[in-house]
Point group: C2
Chain length 317, copies 2
Protein backbone atom coordinates (compact mmCIF):
# COMPACT_ATOMS: atom_id res chain seq x y z
CA UNK A 1 0.00 0.00 0.00
CA UNK A 2 2.97 2.34 0.33
CA UNK A 3 4.59 1.03 -2.83
CA UNK A 4 7.39 -0.40 -0.76
CA UNK A 5 8.35 2.97 0.72
CA UNK A 6 6.99 2.32 4.24
CA UNK A 7 6.31 6.05 4.37
CA UNK A 8 3.29 8.36 4.61
CA UNK A 9 0.79 6.46 6.69
CA UNK A 10 -1.98 7.54 9.03
CA UNK A 11 -2.83 5.73 12.27
CA UNK A 12 -5.58 6.25 14.81
CA UNK A 13 -3.89 4.77 17.88
CA UNK A 14 -0.40 4.92 19.34
CA UNK A 15 -0.42 1.12 19.44
CA UNK A 16 -0.61 1.21 15.65
CA UNK A 17 2.09 3.89 15.47
CA UNK A 18 4.46 1.81 17.60
CA UNK A 19 3.70 -1.32 15.59
CA UNK A 20 4.51 0.36 12.31
CA UNK A 21 7.55 2.15 13.72
CA UNK A 22 8.85 -1.23 14.90
CA UNK A 23 8.32 -2.49 11.36
CA UNK A 24 10.49 0.20 9.81
CA UNK A 25 7.75 2.65 8.84
CA UNK A 26 8.28 6.39 9.12
CA UNK A 27 6.42 9.57 8.19
CA UNK A 28 3.51 8.53 10.41
CA UNK A 29 0.60 10.80 11.24
CA UNK A 30 -1.23 10.03 14.48
CA UNK A 31 -4.47 11.57 13.25
CA UNK A 32 -6.19 11.89 16.60
CA UNK A 33 -6.71 14.89 18.88
CA UNK A 34 -3.60 14.77 21.07
CA UNK A 35 -4.62 12.92 24.26
CA UNK A 36 -3.18 14.74 27.24
CA UNK A 37 -2.06 11.53 28.95
CA UNK A 38 -0.08 10.32 25.93
CA UNK A 39 2.27 13.25 25.44
CA UNK A 40 5.34 11.30 26.53
CA UNK A 41 4.50 8.40 24.25
CA UNK A 42 4.16 10.86 21.38
CA UNK A 43 7.47 12.49 22.32
CA UNK A 44 9.14 9.11 22.33
CA UNK A 45 7.91 8.42 18.78
CA UNK A 46 8.83 11.92 17.65
CA UNK A 47 12.40 11.40 18.91
CA UNK A 48 12.67 7.93 17.51
CA UNK A 49 11.29 8.55 14.03
CA UNK A 50 12.42 10.95 11.36
CA UNK A 51 8.89 12.23 10.94
CA UNK A 52 6.16 11.51 13.47
CA UNK A 53 3.19 13.86 13.26
CA UNK A 54 0.57 14.78 15.81
CA UNK A 55 -2.74 16.51 15.33
CA UNK A 56 -4.27 19.28 17.43
CA UNK A 57 -7.46 21.27 17.45
CA UNK A 58 -7.05 23.28 20.66
CA UNK A 59 -4.65 25.83 22.08
CA UNK A 60 -4.47 23.71 25.25
CA UNK A 61 -3.05 20.77 23.30
CA UNK A 62 -0.60 23.06 21.55
CA UNK A 63 0.48 24.47 24.91
CA UNK A 64 1.32 20.93 26.02
CA UNK A 65 3.55 20.47 23.00
CA UNK A 66 5.28 23.80 23.54
CA UNK A 67 6.04 22.90 27.15
CA UNK A 68 7.43 19.49 26.20
CA UNK A 69 10.27 20.41 23.90
CA UNK A 70 11.96 17.75 21.86
CA UNK A 71 15.73 17.35 21.70
CA UNK A 72 17.79 19.95 19.80
CA UNK A 73 17.14 19.86 16.07
CA UNK A 74 13.70 18.32 16.52
CA UNK A 75 10.45 20.22 16.21
CA UNK A 76 6.99 18.83 16.90
CA UNK A 77 5.39 18.28 13.48
CA UNK A 78 1.79 19.27 13.86
CA UNK A 79 -1.34 19.04 11.77
CA UNK A 80 -4.27 21.29 12.46
CA UNK A 81 -7.60 19.49 12.39
CA UNK A 82 -10.47 21.44 10.91
CA UNK A 83 -14.11 20.42 10.84
CA UNK A 84 -15.82 20.85 7.46
CA UNK A 85 -19.36 19.94 8.55
CA UNK A 86 -18.43 16.45 9.73
CA UNK A 87 -19.05 17.23 13.38
CA UNK A 88 -16.47 15.09 15.13
CA UNK A 89 -13.00 16.53 15.88
CA UNK A 90 -11.62 19.82 14.60
CA UNK A 91 -12.15 23.54 14.80
CA UNK A 92 -14.83 24.77 12.46
CA UNK A 93 -13.17 25.99 9.27
CA UNK A 94 -15.11 29.25 9.56
CA UNK A 95 -14.04 29.88 13.16
CA UNK A 96 -11.38 32.63 13.30
CA UNK A 97 -9.78 30.60 16.08
CA UNK A 98 -8.75 28.02 13.48
CA UNK A 99 -6.52 30.47 11.65
CA UNK A 100 -5.19 31.77 14.96
CA UNK A 101 -4.31 28.25 16.06
CA UNK A 102 -2.58 27.63 12.71
CA UNK A 103 -0.48 30.73 13.30
CA UNK A 104 0.39 29.60 16.83
CA UNK A 105 1.36 26.14 15.63
CA UNK A 106 3.67 27.65 13.03
CA UNK A 107 5.81 29.14 15.80
CA UNK A 108 8.70 27.10 17.20
CA UNK A 109 9.05 24.62 18.88
CA UNK A 110 6.25 23.33 16.69
CA UNK A 111 5.96 23.16 12.93
CA UNK A 112 2.68 23.54 11.05
CA UNK A 113 2.90 20.53 8.78
CA UNK A 114 -0.58 20.27 7.36
CA UNK A 115 -4.31 20.80 7.47
CA UNK A 116 -6.45 17.76 8.03
CA UNK A 117 -10.18 17.29 7.52
CA UNK A 118 -12.17 14.07 7.72
CA UNK A 119 -15.39 13.72 5.74
CA UNK A 120 -17.02 11.04 7.85
CA UNK A 121 -20.33 12.64 6.95
CA UNK A 122 -20.00 10.74 3.66
CA UNK A 123 -21.20 7.70 5.64
CA UNK A 124 -24.74 9.04 5.55
CA UNK A 125 -24.68 9.20 1.74
CA UNK A 126 -26.51 6.91 -0.63
CA UNK A 127 -24.99 6.68 -4.09
CA UNK A 128 -22.07 8.19 -5.96
CA UNK A 129 -23.66 11.57 -6.50
CA UNK A 130 -24.22 12.19 -2.79
CA UNK A 131 -20.74 10.90 -1.95
CA UNK A 132 -19.14 13.21 -4.50
CA UNK A 133 -21.11 16.12 -3.19
CA UNK A 134 -19.61 15.59 0.30
CA UNK A 135 -16.15 14.94 -1.18
CA UNK A 136 -16.31 18.16 -3.13
CA UNK A 137 -17.61 20.24 -0.23
CA UNK A 138 -14.89 18.95 2.11
CA UNK A 139 -12.19 19.44 -0.52
CA UNK A 140 -13.23 23.01 -1.26
CA UNK A 141 -13.57 23.78 2.44
CA UNK A 142 -10.01 22.55 2.99
CA UNK A 143 -8.57 24.26 -0.09
CA UNK A 144 -10.24 27.53 0.91
CA UNK A 145 -8.66 27.23 4.32
CA UNK A 146 -5.28 26.66 2.65
CA UNK A 147 -5.87 29.86 0.69
CA UNK A 148 -6.52 31.73 3.91
CA UNK A 149 -3.27 30.32 5.32
CA UNK A 150 -1.34 31.56 2.29
CA UNK A 151 -2.95 34.99 2.56
CA UNK A 152 -1.83 35.07 6.19
CA UNK A 153 1.69 34.13 5.16
CA UNK A 154 1.47 30.69 6.77
CA UNK A 155 1.68 28.53 3.68
CA UNK A 156 5.13 27.12 3.92
CA UNK A 157 5.29 23.47 4.78
CA UNK A 158 1.56 23.03 4.91
CA UNK A 159 -0.01 20.15 3.07
CA UNK A 160 -3.66 19.27 2.92
CA UNK A 161 -5.40 15.96 3.47
CA UNK A 162 -9.00 14.90 3.50
CA UNK A 163 -10.47 11.48 3.43
CA UNK A 164 -13.00 8.80 4.10
CA UNK A 165 -13.46 5.59 2.21
CA UNK A 166 -16.64 6.74 0.40
CA UNK A 167 -15.13 10.03 -0.82
CA UNK A 168 -11.81 8.46 -1.82
CA UNK A 169 -13.65 5.70 -3.66
CA UNK A 170 -15.29 8.29 -5.91
CA UNK A 171 -12.83 11.19 -6.00
CA UNK A 172 -13.86 14.48 -7.56
CA UNK A 173 -11.44 16.43 -9.81
CA UNK A 174 -10.85 19.06 -7.12
CA UNK A 175 -9.22 16.43 -4.92
CA UNK A 176 -6.22 16.48 -7.28
CA UNK A 177 -5.31 19.79 -5.65
CA UNK A 178 -4.93 18.11 -2.24
CA UNK A 179 -1.54 16.70 -1.29
CA UNK A 180 -2.87 13.54 0.37
CA UNK A 181 -6.00 11.54 1.00
CA UNK A 182 -6.56 9.18 3.92
CA UNK A 183 -9.21 6.50 3.47
CA UNK A 184 -9.00 3.31 5.51
CA UNK A 185 -11.88 0.92 5.17
CA UNK A 186 -11.27 0.36 1.42
CA UNK A 187 -8.69 -2.32 2.25
CA UNK A 188 -11.55 -4.69 3.04
CA UNK A 189 -14.68 -2.77 2.11
CA UNK A 190 -17.91 -4.17 3.54
CA UNK A 191 -21.69 -4.25 3.20
CA UNK A 192 -21.99 -0.77 4.71
CA UNK A 193 -19.73 0.63 1.99
CA UNK A 194 -21.75 -1.25 -0.62
CA UNK A 195 -24.96 0.29 0.73
CA UNK A 196 -23.35 3.76 0.70
CA UNK A 197 -22.24 3.21 -2.88
CA UNK A 198 -18.47 3.11 -2.34
CA UNK A 199 -18.07 -0.33 -3.85
CA UNK A 200 -19.77 -3.38 -5.30
CA UNK A 201 -20.36 -6.59 -3.41
CA UNK A 202 -17.54 -8.31 -5.33
CA UNK A 203 -15.09 -5.72 -3.96
CA UNK A 204 -15.66 -6.83 -0.36
CA UNK A 205 -12.58 -8.79 0.72
CA UNK A 206 -13.53 -10.02 4.17
CA UNK A 207 -15.60 -12.93 5.44
CA UNK A 208 -16.33 -14.59 8.74
CA UNK A 209 -16.67 -18.33 8.35
CA UNK A 210 -19.24 -19.80 10.67
CA UNK A 211 -20.45 -23.31 11.30
CA UNK A 212 -24.01 -24.58 11.51
CA UNK A 213 -24.50 -25.88 15.06
CA UNK A 214 -28.25 -26.30 15.36
CA UNK A 215 -31.39 -27.13 13.37
CA UNK A 216 -34.70 -25.93 14.83
CA UNK A 217 -37.51 -26.74 12.42
CA UNK A 218 -40.18 -25.83 15.00
CA UNK A 219 -39.17 -22.20 14.63
CA UNK A 220 -37.78 -22.36 11.07
CA UNK A 221 -34.29 -21.36 12.22
CA UNK A 222 -30.78 -22.65 12.29
CA UNK A 223 -28.04 -21.68 14.69
CA UNK A 224 -24.46 -20.81 13.75
CA UNK A 225 -21.38 -20.48 15.94
CA UNK A 226 -20.85 -16.78 15.23
CA UNK A 227 -22.26 -14.33 17.73
CA UNK A 228 -21.32 -10.73 18.27
CA UNK A 229 -17.86 -11.74 19.53
CA UNK A 230 -17.18 -12.83 15.96
CA UNK A 231 -19.03 -10.19 13.97
CA UNK A 232 -19.98 -7.20 16.19
CA UNK A 233 -23.53 -5.87 16.27
CA UNK A 234 -22.75 -3.06 13.86
CA UNK A 235 -25.54 -3.31 11.33
CA UNK A 236 -27.94 -3.25 14.27
CA UNK A 237 -29.74 -5.94 12.32
CA UNK A 238 -31.22 -3.42 9.94
CA UNK A 239 -30.07 -4.97 6.67
CA UNK A 240 -32.73 -6.81 4.68
CA UNK A 241 -30.60 -9.83 5.58
CA UNK A 242 -30.21 -8.81 9.22
CA UNK A 243 -26.72 -8.45 10.72
CA UNK A 244 -24.73 -9.54 7.64
CA UNK A 245 -25.00 -11.10 4.20
CA UNK A 246 -24.69 -14.87 4.00
CA UNK A 247 -22.56 -15.38 0.89
CA UNK A 248 -24.31 -17.33 -1.81
CA UNK A 249 -27.54 -17.53 0.18
CA UNK A 250 -29.50 -14.33 -0.43
CA UNK A 251 -32.56 -16.06 1.06
CA UNK A 252 -30.96 -16.28 4.51
CA UNK A 253 -31.26 -13.65 7.21
CA UNK A 254 -29.08 -13.41 10.31
CA UNK A 255 -31.90 -12.28 12.55
CA UNK A 256 -30.16 -12.18 15.91
CA UNK A 257 -26.91 -12.70 17.74
CA UNK A 258 -25.90 -13.27 21.32
CA UNK A 259 -22.34 -13.60 22.56
CA UNK A 260 -21.49 -16.86 20.78
CA UNK A 261 -24.65 -17.76 18.85
CA UNK A 262 -26.23 -16.47 15.65
CA UNK A 263 -29.80 -17.25 14.59
CA UNK A 264 -30.53 -17.58 10.87
CA UNK A 265 -33.88 -17.96 9.19
CA UNK A 266 -35.11 -17.65 5.60
CA UNK A 267 -36.26 -14.23 4.43
CA UNK A 268 -39.42 -16.00 3.24
CA UNK A 269 -40.77 -19.54 3.24
CA UNK A 270 -39.61 -22.72 4.89
CA UNK A 271 -35.94 -23.45 5.50
CA UNK A 272 -34.60 -26.48 3.63
CA UNK A 273 -32.37 -27.78 6.42
CA UNK A 274 -30.82 -30.41 4.15
CA UNK A 275 -28.97 -27.59 2.38
CA UNK A 276 -27.28 -26.56 5.63
CA UNK A 277 -26.14 -29.75 7.38
CA UNK A 278 -24.96 -29.56 10.97
CA UNK A 279 -21.24 -28.94 10.87
CA UNK A 280 -21.27 -27.23 7.47
CA UNK A 281 -19.83 -23.76 6.91
CA UNK A 282 -21.43 -20.51 5.88
CA UNK A 283 -19.54 -17.33 4.97
CA UNK A 284 -20.81 -14.09 6.50
CA UNK A 285 -20.02 -10.82 4.74
CA UNK A 286 -19.79 -8.22 7.50
CA UNK A 287 -21.69 -4.97 7.60
CA UNK A 288 -18.73 -3.07 9.10
CA UNK A 289 -15.36 -4.64 8.38
CA UNK A 290 -13.54 -2.44 10.91
CA UNK A 291 -15.81 -3.57 13.71
CA UNK A 292 -15.68 -7.22 12.71
CA UNK A 293 -11.92 -7.15 12.29
CA UNK A 294 -11.61 -5.65 15.78
CA UNK A 295 -13.15 -8.82 17.24
CA UNK A 296 -10.52 -11.24 15.89
CA UNK A 297 -6.98 -12.04 17.04
CA UNK A 298 -5.90 -13.45 13.68
CA UNK A 299 -6.84 -12.97 10.02
CA UNK A 300 -6.39 -15.68 7.40
CA UNK A 301 -5.34 -14.17 4.09
CA UNK A 302 -6.46 -16.01 0.97
CA UNK A 303 -5.52 -15.61 -2.66
CA UNK A 304 -7.02 -17.73 -5.41
CA UNK A 305 -8.29 -20.26 -2.94
CA UNK A 306 -4.95 -20.64 -1.15
CA UNK A 307 -4.07 -19.52 2.36
CA UNK A 308 -1.10 -17.25 1.72
CA UNK A 309 -0.58 -15.52 5.07
CA UNK A 310 -1.92 -14.88 8.53
CA UNK A 311 -2.10 -11.36 9.96
CA UNK A 312 -2.26 -10.37 13.59
CA UNK A 313 -4.10 -7.09 14.02
CA UNK A 314 -2.93 -4.31 16.29
CA UNK A 315 -5.46 -3.77 19.05
CA UNK A 316 -5.58 -1.62 22.11
CA UNK A 317 -4.20 1.88 22.45
CA UNK B 1 -16.86 -17.67 43.13
CA UNK B 2 -16.38 -21.41 43.58
CA UNK B 3 -15.62 -21.04 47.28
CA UNK B 4 -12.10 -22.15 46.65
CA UNK B 5 -13.15 -25.49 45.15
CA UNK B 6 -12.31 -24.66 41.52
CA UNK B 7 -15.16 -26.96 40.59
CA UNK B 8 -18.57 -26.71 38.89
CA UNK B 9 -18.17 -23.98 36.34
CA UNK B 10 -19.79 -23.30 33.00
CA UNK B 11 -17.94 -21.89 29.99
CA UNK B 12 -19.13 -20.85 26.56
CA UNK B 13 -15.90 -21.33 24.61
CA UNK B 14 -13.19 -23.96 24.55
CA UNK B 15 -10.64 -21.17 25.02
CA UNK B 16 -12.25 -20.55 28.40
CA UNK B 17 -12.33 -24.29 29.17
CA UNK B 18 -8.62 -24.63 28.41
CA UNK B 19 -7.79 -21.54 30.45
CA UNK B 20 -9.60 -22.80 33.51
CA UNK B 21 -8.28 -26.34 33.08
CA UNK B 22 -4.77 -24.91 32.97
CA UNK B 23 -5.59 -23.08 36.22
CA UNK B 24 -6.54 -26.26 38.04
CA UNK B 25 -10.29 -26.10 37.54
CA UNK B 26 -12.31 -29.23 36.92
CA UNK B 27 -15.99 -30.20 36.60
CA UNK B 28 -16.36 -27.85 33.65
CA UNK B 29 -19.45 -27.72 31.46
CA UNK B 30 -18.93 -26.44 27.92
CA UNK B 31 -22.51 -25.24 27.61
CA UNK B 32 -22.59 -24.84 23.87
CA UNK B 33 -24.06 -27.04 21.13
CA UNK B 34 -21.14 -29.34 20.30
CA UNK B 35 -19.39 -27.79 17.28
CA UNK B 36 -18.55 -30.52 14.80
CA UNK B 37 -15.07 -29.17 14.16
CA UNK B 38 -14.10 -29.14 17.84
CA UNK B 39 -14.68 -32.77 18.72
CA UNK B 40 -10.99 -33.53 19.16
CA UNK B 41 -10.47 -30.51 21.37
CA UNK B 42 -13.39 -31.66 23.50
CA UNK B 43 -11.98 -35.18 23.62
CA UNK B 44 -8.66 -33.79 24.76
CA UNK B 45 -10.32 -31.95 27.64
CA UNK B 46 -12.46 -34.96 28.50
CA UNK B 47 -9.33 -37.11 28.74
CA UNK B 48 -7.35 -34.53 30.66
CA UNK B 49 -9.98 -33.56 33.25
CA UNK B 50 -11.82 -35.66 35.75
CA UNK B 51 -15.12 -34.20 34.62
CA UNK B 52 -15.47 -32.25 31.40
CA UNK B 53 -19.04 -31.99 30.12
CA UNK B 54 -20.41 -31.32 26.68
CA UNK B 55 -23.90 -30.33 25.63
CA UNK B 56 -25.92 -31.67 22.71
CA UNK B 57 -29.30 -31.02 21.20
CA UNK B 58 -29.18 -33.25 18.11
CA UNK B 59 -28.77 -36.92 17.32
CA UNK B 60 -26.08 -35.96 14.82
CA UNK B 61 -23.92 -34.44 17.57
CA UNK B 62 -24.50 -37.48 19.75
CA UNK B 63 -23.49 -39.74 16.85
CA UNK B 64 -20.17 -37.87 16.68
CA UNK B 65 -19.56 -38.55 20.35
CA UNK B 66 -20.43 -42.20 20.00
CA UNK B 67 -18.00 -42.59 17.11
CA UNK B 68 -15.19 -40.85 19.02
CA UNK B 69 -14.82 -43.07 22.04
CA UNK B 70 -12.72 -41.95 24.95
CA UNK B 71 -10.06 -44.12 26.55
CA UNK B 72 -11.15 -47.10 28.68
CA UNK B 73 -12.91 -46.05 31.86
CA UNK B 74 -13.95 -42.71 30.42
CA UNK B 75 -17.44 -41.89 29.17
CA UNK B 76 -18.52 -38.69 27.48
CA UNK B 77 -20.45 -36.71 30.09
CA UNK B 78 -23.31 -35.12 28.23
CA UNK B 79 -25.96 -32.55 29.02
CA UNK B 80 -29.12 -32.37 26.95
CA UNK B 81 -30.11 -28.86 26.06
CA UNK B 82 -33.81 -28.16 26.04
CA UNK B 83 -35.53 -25.01 24.90
CA UNK B 84 -38.19 -23.68 27.27
CA UNK B 85 -39.50 -20.84 25.10
CA UNK B 86 -36.13 -19.05 24.87
CA UNK B 87 -35.68 -19.77 21.19
CA UNK B 88 -31.93 -20.14 20.89
CA UNK B 89 -30.35 -23.62 21.27
CA UNK B 90 -32.11 -26.76 22.46
CA UNK B 91 -34.84 -29.18 21.53
CA UNK B 92 -38.28 -27.96 22.48
CA UNK B 93 -39.20 -29.47 25.84
CA UNK B 94 -42.50 -30.63 24.37
CA UNK B 95 -40.87 -32.33 21.38
CA UNK B 96 -40.92 -36.14 21.82
CA UNK B 97 -37.48 -36.10 20.18
CA UNK B 98 -36.08 -34.51 23.35
CA UNK B 99 -36.93 -37.53 25.49
CA UNK B 100 -35.69 -39.84 22.75
CA UNK B 101 -32.39 -38.01 22.61
CA UNK B 102 -32.10 -38.18 26.41
CA UNK B 103 -32.56 -41.94 26.18
CA UNK B 104 -29.95 -42.22 23.45
CA UNK B 105 -27.47 -40.15 25.45
CA UNK B 106 -27.95 -42.39 28.46
CA UNK B 107 -26.51 -45.31 26.48
CA UNK B 108 -22.75 -45.93 26.58
CA UNK B 109 -20.28 -44.62 25.56
CA UNK B 110 -22.04 -41.47 26.72
CA UNK B 111 -23.52 -40.61 30.07
CA UNK B 112 -26.60 -38.42 30.51
CA UNK B 113 -25.32 -36.02 33.11
CA UNK B 114 -27.94 -33.30 33.14
CA UNK B 115 -30.68 -31.25 31.58
CA UNK B 116 -29.85 -27.67 30.72
CA UNK B 117 -32.14 -24.78 29.86
CA UNK B 118 -31.23 -21.14 29.41
CA UNK B 119 -33.82 -18.46 30.08
CA UNK B 120 -32.32 -15.72 27.93
CA UNK B 121 -35.87 -14.58 27.28
CA UNK B 122 -35.63 -12.91 30.70
CA UNK B 123 -33.65 -10.17 28.89
CA UNK B 124 -36.88 -8.79 27.46
CA UNK B 125 -38.37 -8.38 30.93
CA UNK B 126 -38.91 -5.12 32.78
CA UNK B 127 -39.06 -5.45 36.55
CA UNK B 128 -38.86 -8.21 39.11
CA UNK B 129 -42.35 -9.55 38.51
CA UNK B 130 -41.74 -10.21 34.81
CA UNK B 131 -38.30 -11.69 35.54
CA UNK B 132 -39.75 -14.06 38.13
CA UNK B 133 -42.48 -15.10 35.74
CA UNK B 134 -39.85 -16.22 33.20
CA UNK B 135 -37.71 -17.80 35.93
CA UNK B 136 -40.68 -19.79 37.18
CA UNK B 137 -41.82 -20.87 33.73
CA UNK B 138 -38.32 -22.08 32.81
CA UNK B 139 -37.87 -23.84 36.13
CA UNK B 140 -41.19 -25.65 35.90
CA UNK B 141 -40.53 -26.55 32.27
CA UNK B 142 -37.20 -28.08 33.27
CA UNK B 143 -38.55 -29.85 36.36
CA UNK B 144 -41.42 -31.29 34.34
CA UNK B 145 -38.92 -32.63 31.86
CA UNK B 146 -36.97 -34.19 34.74
CA UNK B 147 -40.22 -35.88 35.85
CA UNK B 148 -40.66 -37.28 32.35
CA UNK B 149 -37.09 -38.62 32.50
CA UNK B 150 -37.79 -40.35 35.79
CA UNK B 151 -41.00 -41.83 34.43
CA UNK B 152 -38.97 -43.17 31.52
CA UNK B 153 -36.44 -44.67 33.92
CA UNK B 154 -33.72 -42.23 32.86
CA UNK B 155 -33.35 -40.30 36.08
CA UNK B 156 -30.07 -41.58 37.39
CA UNK B 157 -27.20 -39.13 37.23
CA UNK B 158 -29.28 -36.37 35.77
CA UNK B 159 -29.07 -32.96 37.30
CA UNK B 160 -30.93 -29.85 36.20
CA UNK B 161 -29.67 -26.36 35.55
CA UNK B 162 -31.30 -23.20 34.34
CA UNK B 163 -30.02 -19.72 34.37
CA UNK B 164 -29.64 -16.18 33.19
CA UNK B 165 -28.52 -13.23 35.24
CA UNK B 166 -32.01 -11.71 35.54
CA UNK B 167 -33.68 -14.94 36.73
CA UNK B 168 -30.85 -15.84 39.12
CA UNK B 169 -30.90 -12.30 40.54
CA UNK B 170 -34.52 -12.80 41.58
CA UNK B 171 -34.88 -16.53 42.16
CA UNK B 172 -38.30 -18.03 42.69
CA UNK B 173 -38.86 -20.72 45.36
CA UNK B 174 -39.22 -23.45 42.73
CA UNK B 175 -35.59 -22.92 41.73
CA UNK B 176 -34.54 -24.59 45.00
CA UNK B 177 -35.54 -27.87 43.34
CA UNK B 178 -32.91 -27.40 40.62
CA UNK B 179 -29.42 -28.75 41.22
CA UNK B 180 -27.57 -25.80 39.71
CA UNK B 181 -28.06 -22.35 38.24
CA UNK B 182 -25.76 -20.70 35.71
CA UNK B 183 -25.89 -16.92 35.54
CA UNK B 184 -22.86 -15.02 34.23
CA UNK B 185 -23.28 -11.30 33.84
CA UNK B 186 -23.91 -10.74 37.58
CA UNK B 187 -20.15 -10.60 38.17
CA UNK B 188 -20.13 -7.09 36.74
CA UNK B 189 -23.80 -6.29 36.14
CA UNK B 190 -24.42 -3.33 33.84
CA UNK B 191 -26.95 -0.73 32.75
CA UNK B 192 -28.90 -3.29 30.74
CA UNK B 193 -29.38 -5.41 33.87
CA UNK B 194 -30.40 -2.32 35.78
CA UNK B 195 -33.01 -1.52 33.11
CA UNK B 196 -34.28 -5.12 33.21
CA UNK B 197 -34.53 -4.92 36.98
CA UNK B 198 -31.81 -7.43 37.91
CA UNK B 199 -29.83 -4.93 39.96
CA UNK B 200 -29.46 -1.36 41.12
CA UNK B 201 -27.01 1.10 39.64
CA UNK B 202 -24.75 0.77 42.69
CA UNK B 203 -24.38 -2.96 41.98
CA UNK B 204 -22.67 -2.30 38.64
CA UNK B 205 -18.96 -3.05 39.10
CA UNK B 206 -17.48 -2.05 35.77
CA UNK B 207 -16.41 1.27 34.28
CA UNK B 208 -14.56 2.48 31.23
CA UNK B 209 -12.45 5.52 32.02
CA UNK B 210 -12.28 7.94 29.17
CA UNK B 211 -10.50 11.23 28.67
CA UNK B 212 -11.90 14.48 27.33
CA UNK B 213 -10.02 15.23 24.10
CA UNK B 214 -12.07 17.99 22.49
CA UNK B 215 -14.31 20.96 23.25
CA UNK B 216 -16.71 22.05 20.50
CA UNK B 217 -18.90 24.87 21.78
CA UNK B 218 -20.27 25.59 18.29
CA UNK B 219 -22.16 22.32 18.45
CA UNK B 220 -22.47 22.04 22.26
CA UNK B 221 -20.44 18.83 22.35
CA UNK B 222 -17.27 17.44 23.82
CA UNK B 223 -15.24 14.56 22.48
CA UNK B 224 -13.84 11.67 24.55
CA UNK B 225 -11.26 9.06 23.64
CA UNK B 226 -13.62 6.10 23.93
CA UNK B 227 -15.23 4.87 20.75
CA UNK B 228 -16.81 1.53 20.06
CA UNK B 229 -13.43 -0.20 20.35
CA UNK B 230 -13.59 0.68 24.05
CA UNK B 231 -17.28 0.27 24.78
CA UNK B 232 -19.05 -1.63 21.96
CA UNK B 233 -22.21 -0.28 20.34
CA UNK B 234 -24.45 -2.49 22.42
CA UNK B 235 -27.03 -0.08 23.73
CA UNK B 236 -27.53 1.03 20.12
CA UNK B 237 -27.66 4.50 21.64
CA UNK B 238 -31.17 3.95 22.91
CA UNK B 239 -30.62 4.83 26.56
CA UNK B 240 -31.87 8.25 27.66
CA UNK B 241 -28.14 8.90 28.11
CA UNK B 242 -27.21 7.35 24.76
CA UNK B 243 -24.63 4.57 24.64
CA UNK B 244 -23.76 4.51 28.36
CA UNK B 245 -24.19 6.34 31.63
CA UNK B 246 -21.57 8.94 32.49
CA UNK B 247 -21.00 8.36 36.20
CA UNK B 248 -21.86 11.36 38.33
CA UNK B 249 -23.09 13.35 35.34
CA UNK B 250 -26.71 12.39 34.67
CA UNK B 251 -26.99 15.46 32.43
CA UNK B 252 -24.52 14.04 29.90
CA UNK B 253 -25.46 11.91 26.93
CA UNK B 254 -23.03 9.82 24.86
CA UNK B 255 -24.78 10.53 21.58
CA UNK B 256 -22.46 8.81 19.15
CA UNK B 257 -19.31 6.76 18.77
CA UNK B 258 -16.94 5.97 15.95
CA UNK B 259 -13.95 3.66 16.19
CA UNK B 260 -11.91 5.75 18.62
CA UNK B 261 -14.09 8.80 19.35
CA UNK B 262 -17.17 9.38 21.49
CA UNK B 263 -19.36 12.48 21.25
CA UNK B 264 -21.01 13.76 24.43
CA UNK B 265 -23.57 16.50 24.77
CA UNK B 266 -25.90 17.64 27.55
CA UNK B 267 -29.34 16.06 27.70
CA UNK B 268 -30.68 19.62 27.87
CA UNK B 269 -29.22 23.12 27.89
CA UNK B 270 -25.74 24.44 27.29
CA UNK B 271 -22.65 22.45 28.21
CA UNK B 272 -20.47 24.07 30.88
CA UNK B 273 -17.11 23.14 29.36
CA UNK B 274 -15.21 24.38 32.41
CA UNK B 275 -16.53 21.36 34.28
CA UNK B 276 -14.92 18.99 31.79
CA UNK B 277 -11.41 20.29 31.09
CA UNK B 278 -9.43 18.85 28.21
CA UNK B 279 -7.45 15.95 29.62
CA UNK B 280 -9.88 15.22 32.46
CA UNK B 281 -11.44 11.81 32.99
CA UNK B 282 -15.03 10.63 32.84
CA UNK B 283 -16.24 7.20 33.89
CA UNK B 284 -18.64 5.42 31.54
CA UNK B 285 -20.95 2.77 32.96
CA UNK B 286 -21.49 0.29 30.13
CA UNK B 287 -24.83 -0.85 28.83
CA UNK B 288 -23.63 -4.43 28.27
CA UNK B 289 -20.65 -5.40 30.43
CA UNK B 290 -19.98 -8.61 28.46
CA UNK B 291 -19.68 -6.69 25.22
CA UNK B 292 -17.54 -3.95 26.73
CA UNK B 293 -15.31 -6.43 28.51
CA UNK B 294 -14.80 -8.25 25.22
CA UNK B 295 -13.14 -5.14 23.77
CA UNK B 296 -10.34 -4.88 26.34
CA UNK B 297 -7.08 -6.81 26.73
CA UNK B 298 -6.71 -6.00 30.43
CA UNK B 299 -8.99 -5.17 33.35
CA UNK B 300 -7.89 -3.10 36.31
CA UNK B 301 -9.44 -4.39 39.51
CA UNK B 302 -10.10 -1.83 42.22
CA UNK B 303 -11.10 -2.19 45.83
CA UNK B 304 -11.71 0.77 48.10
CA UNK B 305 -9.93 3.10 45.73
CA UNK B 306 -6.85 0.90 45.40
CA UNK B 307 -5.71 -1.03 42.35
CA UNK B 308 -5.52 -4.57 43.71
CA UNK B 309 -5.08 -6.69 40.59
CA UNK B 310 -5.09 -6.81 36.84
CA UNK B 311 -6.99 -9.47 34.93
CA UNK B 312 -6.42 -10.65 31.40
CA UNK B 313 -9.62 -11.91 29.84
CA UNK B 314 -9.86 -15.06 27.77
CA UNK B 315 -10.83 -14.20 24.24
CA UNK B 316 -11.19 -16.16 21.07
CA UNK B 317 -12.50 -19.67 20.77
Amino acid sequence: MTGGTRRRIVVSTLAEARFFADGGFDDILYAYPLPFDKLEECASLAERLESFHVLVDSSEALALLKRRRLSPGKLWKVWLKIDCQNGRAGLSNTDPAALELARAIAEAPTELLGIYAHCGNSYSCRGVSEIQSVAQATTLCTLNFMDKLREAGLACGSVSSIGSTPSCSHPVPEMARLKEVHPGNYIFYDVQQMMIGSCQLEDVAVRVLTRVIGHYPHRNQLLVDCGWTGLSLHSLGQLPTGYALVEGHPNLKLVGMTQEHGRIEPTTGELDFSKYPLGSLLALIPYHACATAAMHPLYYVHSQGQLVATWKPVRGW
